[in-house]
Symmetry: D2
Subunit: 490 residues, 4 copies
């Protein structure tokens, strides 16, 4: 089966009927027509359409090694620098379709499952059957263009056994039974972004310490359809402001729902199990598969697209407000320019510094990617602050599209103009700036970016701990102090 | 007539029927039952109730100099330090009722109109009749406990004559006619916070330069009932999330609507005119009435209450999350503690340094107040950032109150507990933290605080330009360089 | 004996002949004539002179309770708010003589020894003889106007027993012997600022954990003359740039030397021992004597004087450079104004909120003082950054006083003028700005302020852990969430 | 003549005898033996030695197009990406010899004169003889390996005609006479770094506005030997701490003196004149020669070497202090790692995005370079702050090398050890950290970096104003708001 298009995507999700809850109601009817999911699914459908569109297909797909059919390029295991470039172009194309607002555009998980399967060798020796499962599952996703979501973490009450100090019931996610058909799982997982609008879910929690051995009930990884019996998705409040693209240019298209996933004794079939019991292998597969590095390239495309969108928005605000003569304004816009150039430079450097790893992948240089992972969560909230500081009270007093059609519309037309811009267009721009930086949609994006790959300590730790150059440079300073010169270093 | 209570307030506003537009619809029916205003009006009603409540009246009122009846203490012109203390206690009581979320609690404008009237001497000589109008209007407000809103600025298209470069129609607010009944005003004004739920509106724009003379159509100040013919209020989008105080603990109570006010040839009667034509007097009345200083004390009460509320919220987050052993958490909470102590110290210093001004008012020391005006807009957004950084992804994945009542409620109860706290209470706290720091309500509060008294350049300029100590200290450094010692300074 | 004057101070120090090392040389000859100490001692002498000067004595002294003679006011145990005000005025007078550059002006330790002695009750019950020693020592210092320095911390190698992982010799300071004459002490202590130019030294290290009991060799406190046999002072490099007050306006007067103090089996007589063996009492005496609170008031006077001096310097830079029309300049100067107002407000609040403690002292409110302790170390380096940013390359290319006297002097006179200022005066101002923000003297001041009362974690911890309001406010938020109103709080 | 070596360099400078003043004294005797210049000249000599050293020559030189002799690679006009790579390797080699502390290593001006000469076409049409002068001068410098310094700005008193409000004498640098031999120049220029230790000086001030015409006395550019009659160099204070590389590891080697250069009617021969009279051409030659871009690559090498040195120093501080378990420490070190990766990525991106310009040069992409110019001045002072915060009071109390040789040396050996490090080595490291971040040498480096290419407004403006992507992105946002999708952008 070749890559799917938008209507394939929508149809499959609609057929799926997972158990989804939002504000105390179970979602019934077509999920693609539910206000909370409609805009997102339309956006994502338009992205899948690119895969079959004549002008795009060559850029978006490659020939399946299994069938020769075109399959999604983000599934491609890169083996050369050219592969990296092809992947980047494909991912940048999708990113420019959603302007970086989708944290979980399909290429994110396509890349993830590719990275895990490429590194299946890590679990080959001890559990060859799970290694096979993982490779077969990757092929299955690629060939069926599966829309995949994932969960890595658990709610706090589950994560820390001692967290609640006294408690009767174990809240940690675990395998409660193994039987001939598979493993029975109980637990809760969070931040399954787009969980309700995906075909399948990859579950791969960080295992709790269990005192060694290979039989930890807390160490597991698997993938299942999202409509598996016993699985429920609890949505947070929807931040879709409304259907008007005028009033809600972003949330009407890019609001990707986050969910809490509950497993209540759900049966995972054996052929979908990748890790079961072995704590060490669970850690290794995450750390050594270089998942973070491969995903880092996808994230970079997203972040560049997002930064470009923000810079474009600021540029428009400056133009229609006549602000380019204010030093304190251009200085702030320049901060965003510097950020954009920084991200682009990281992207170039990661690709240029790529090298073959032991799984045969052309692995981008992880250092600029890890630096970007530390950098972006700090700079993105600053972007929003800059929009607020430049937008000022104009980000508060914004009328609605409908106000222009009333008897007071004429006065609004007079008073709300911008430079070379009608009041209606000017207000539309303000609504965009407001959704970006002030609305609940914008607020969720800020928190999401802050914690995209973990908190600052975790993200910084990945860079600090693997940065071998520290020691080299430390020795160079020792040499300097010992009077040895440093010529030819660097 | 004595101070009003909550139902007086609601009844009067409901009778009023101003021309209010929201999302393309004219508000009809009782404004107090409209979702956008209901919670706010209930909160404000409860504050007015305090004025007649037995345990509060003594603290909230003083005897009217006109009638001896109790009138609102925030109308009192302070003549002694004790008056300042009484005013502070009264304002802190109201601030603790709305936890600082109302930028336009009634004491704000009560204070403003008191300050302007006290300084009516500024316009006495040249326009004694306007000075009388101002004093009489103050008395009218005080004796009738008028709920007043105000506007000072105009939309950008109006503010800068050259802003649109070419335009046919003059968008600047102006007096288009004077007749025997009054002046006819055309123009738009913005950010009339609570404009739709006030009895009257004070209009006092910064006048555009008009080349001297005393007959500028752009220089005026007046007050009118908000239901005056020709006046319309355009609301921004309501940020009331819903009526549930569980889901929306803040916006269901404290969402104060901002409006754009349109005057389409509205007739302002002569006895409500305070400035008309004289540009210089318009500037003077704002600058020299010490309005900013008196209002600064009210704002300080609000900001202290708000900072306390934020610190309390953080304290609860730390407690139920078991976070007090993380240095990076307590360090951030300490930032908020330092901010709270700073505001309290400014308050004490302003009161302690008060002195009698030429209008007979006991004027708080403006320096700590101006410093606070510069400080708070920078520190408040940092508070929200701290909440986001401590709340982390727990600020994203928050269920709805209604989810607990469904068949999955049991699982939520298990997985979403906090330390010594049920899941329901824990989620409630998360919803509060989310409304504070991530929601559209929270976002609007951030922008509002950033620009409360103008942008940073304006606010800093007020302090810089009036800070005579700069010169004293500059001379001291000159003396130091000349070898004169500095003993006994300071 | 009454308070001493400057020549008493110098004479006593010169007679003293402690074992002082600087750059590999033992200091010989009169210490007051050594370049590293000369300027500092002259400054301090001029401060002592104020105590006997007719116009100052009333402000600087009070009648000794022992003899009725005038003694230094900073020795006064404050029992009333008036006492606090008197102390403040006295300390502000001294601070304005050294413009805040002396971290260890005599009033610092005068205050410290007063605080410890006032709290001698803490050790009364268990070691009444040591309590007596402490009280008598305080009286001795007060009556003899002793110039005292102190040490609280040990070098890293000593502080952490496990620090060096393997080591043969115990580097921790300890009592190595007790005999009939006293205790024999071995160890090193650091950052004894002004150690070489003080009469006596108070040694009071944080004791290492010793597994309970009351016989820890690591728990001790005592005071000894700085010329005690076995005691050596190692100076850091002197940052006195030279003797020219033109070239080095600050370091030629205010460079207070820091020393490392070595005790090599020095014998401390019993009557000078305040703590010996009891770990718990050592901690208690530091924590519960409220030493930090009393000293906090002295530090506040210093920090206000310093901030004033910096603001004055910036004012002059702005004036002579014609910079007041640059928004980015006045914005930065305003930051310093806000900081100054903040410190002044903390000072007022601490004094206003003072209350009697169990030792009979009128204790300033510790909260604003602790907030100031957290605030100043962050804002002081920013001051220096502001000076650098405003001074720009003018802080690099600064000639020497002597250049003006050469044949090229005429050209310098032409090219280096400021507004209304000769080149010589302009360069003098630049040298001041350079010493403040770029020189080694300025750099040491920056590091000193950053760590004045410990690192940020320690300083913040003092505030966080004692801030009971956190819990009150946490409960208020709980009440709010439970629907209880907050009226009348705050 | 081939490239010179270290002794050629020293000998030539010593023969030169320019008029140099320091602290009121004219420098007499060999400049290479004067304490203020000795260490710097030795360092620079060792760099020149690399040009003739067998193992380095191939990397450091290329064959002169005039003679085929090896000439310095930094003189090479890059025409291919390979040339850029060769230049980078050469410049990185020199940078690693001075660890980035020389702002004016010879490759800086070698690059500058190459860039100006390559763009001589800019002045070809109107002043062909000056264009020839410029090209010939470049060849002269290259073939003679001239050590060149330069000045671009004038003292404030000269820069602003109105600066001093009233003044009799014109302080602006200008051509006071033209005669058959050349032009006679009067004026002062500043921040001629290494002016006293260079062979020649390029003078190229930003011209003052002169009301059009091509005969402005303020518009000129030329190069002259530094011992030209009528030229004097005034040094700032030397920040060489002393000759001990133990005590002053940086300033004893890398203290590059800044000078004020005075021209008192000095005669510049016609063949050394590049611009004379034409204001517009003066601006164009600076802006359009792409001098900033070419120099940007040299600066990048310097800044990478410097950041590496700082990271190495921090690594050692962490190692010997056992600090790697403190989150607040590793978080700060990670900031430096991120900065290093950022600079490296900018370097890669600039080179990868290079393209041929109209002068035939392979021009690096200016965008990442301009971003770096904005970034580094902000991050470098933060590095020093991080060193201070991690070094803490250990940066204050540092003994001298000589202290170890005294009778108290044994005690220092015991108390000042680090982990796996003797006290002597530990103190040496502290002295390095102190010179970097606290000393006058370190302070000057901070100010120098802050203003390396102008103040923030100037540097940001170069990026903002030339960043055409702003408009592209603005249009993209317009398209987005108009409902056009963004697919395939980016």
């Amino acid at each position: 089966m070749p890559v799917k298009n938008g209507s394939d995507y929508i149809e499959r999700i609609n057929r799926h009927l997972p158990d989804v809850w939002i504000a105390g109601e179970r979602v019934r009817g077509l999920i693609s027509e539910h206000q909370a999911f409609k805009g997102l699914m339309a956006t994502q459908a338009s992205m899948y359409d690119m895969q079959q569109a004549e002008e795009w297909q060559a850029k978006m797909t490659y020939a399946s090694p299994s069938t020769g059919d075109p399959v999604g390029l983000s599934f491609l295991q890169p083996k050369t620098k050219k592969d990296l470039a092809l992947r980047r172009q494909m991912m940048q194309a999708w990113a420019s379709a959603h302007h970086g607002f989708l944290g979980r555009a399909p290429d994110y998980m396509n890349t993830a499952i590719m990275a895990f399967a490429a590194a299946a060798g890590l679990i080959e020796k001890e559990t060859p059957e799970y290694a096979d499962n993982l490779r077969r599952y990757y092929e299955y996703c690629r060939e069926n263009d599966v829309t995949l979501s994932h969960v890595f973490i658990q709610p706090k009450a589950a994560r820390m056994p001692a967290f609640l100090r006294t408690f009767e019931e174990d809240a940690a996610a675990r395998v409660v039974e193994k039987n001939k058909d598979g493993i029975v799982v109980r637990g809760a997982f969070l931040l399954d972004t787009q969980g309700a609008t995906s075909d399948e879910i990859l579950v791969f929690p960080a295992p709790f310490p269990y005192g060694g051995g290979e039989d930890s009930p807390y160490a597991f990884a698997f993938a299942v359809p999202s409509n598996l019996a016993g699985v429920s998705f609890i949505c947070r409040e929807s931040f879709v402001g409304g259907e008007s693209a005028y009033n809600y240019p972003l949330s009407s298209r890019f609001e990707e729902m986050d969910t809490l996933v509950l497993f209540e004794d759900a049966l995972v079939p054996w052929d979908r199990v990748f890790i079961c019991g072995n704590e060490r292998m669970a850690w290794q597969l995450v750390d050594e598969s270089r998942f973070h590095t491969h995903a880092g390239m996808q994230i970079m495309c997203k972040n560049i697209a997002k930064t470009e969108f923000i810079l474009g928005t600021l540029e428009r605000m400056v133009e229609v407000g006549g602000l380019d003569s204010y030093g304190h304004v251009t200085e702030k816009v320049t901060e965003v320019i510097v950020a954009l150039e920084t991200l682009k430079a990281f992207q170039i450097a990661a690709e240029k510094g790529a090298s073959r790893d032991k799984w045969g992948s052309m692995l981008p240089d992880p250092k600029p990617l890890l630096a970007a992972n530390s950098y972006f969560p700090k700079v993105y909230p600053r972007f929003l602050e800059i929009i607020q500081l430049i937008g000022a009270s104009g980000l508060i007093m914004i009328p609605d599209e409908a106000d222009f059609g009333t008897e007071i519309g004429g006065q609004l037309n007079l008073y709300l103009k911008g430079i070379d811009l009608s009041a209606e267009e000017n207000v539309k721009l303000s609504r965009l700036a407001w959704e970006l930086s002030v609305s609940a949609f914008g607020g969720r994006q800020a928190v999401y970016e802050r914690f995209f790959f973990g908190n600052a300590a975790v993200v910084d730790g990945r860079l600090y701990n693997t940065y071998k150059e520290r020691e080299t440079l430390g020795r160079r300073v020792q040499d300097f102090l010992s009077g040895k010169d440093g010529k030819g270093l660097g």
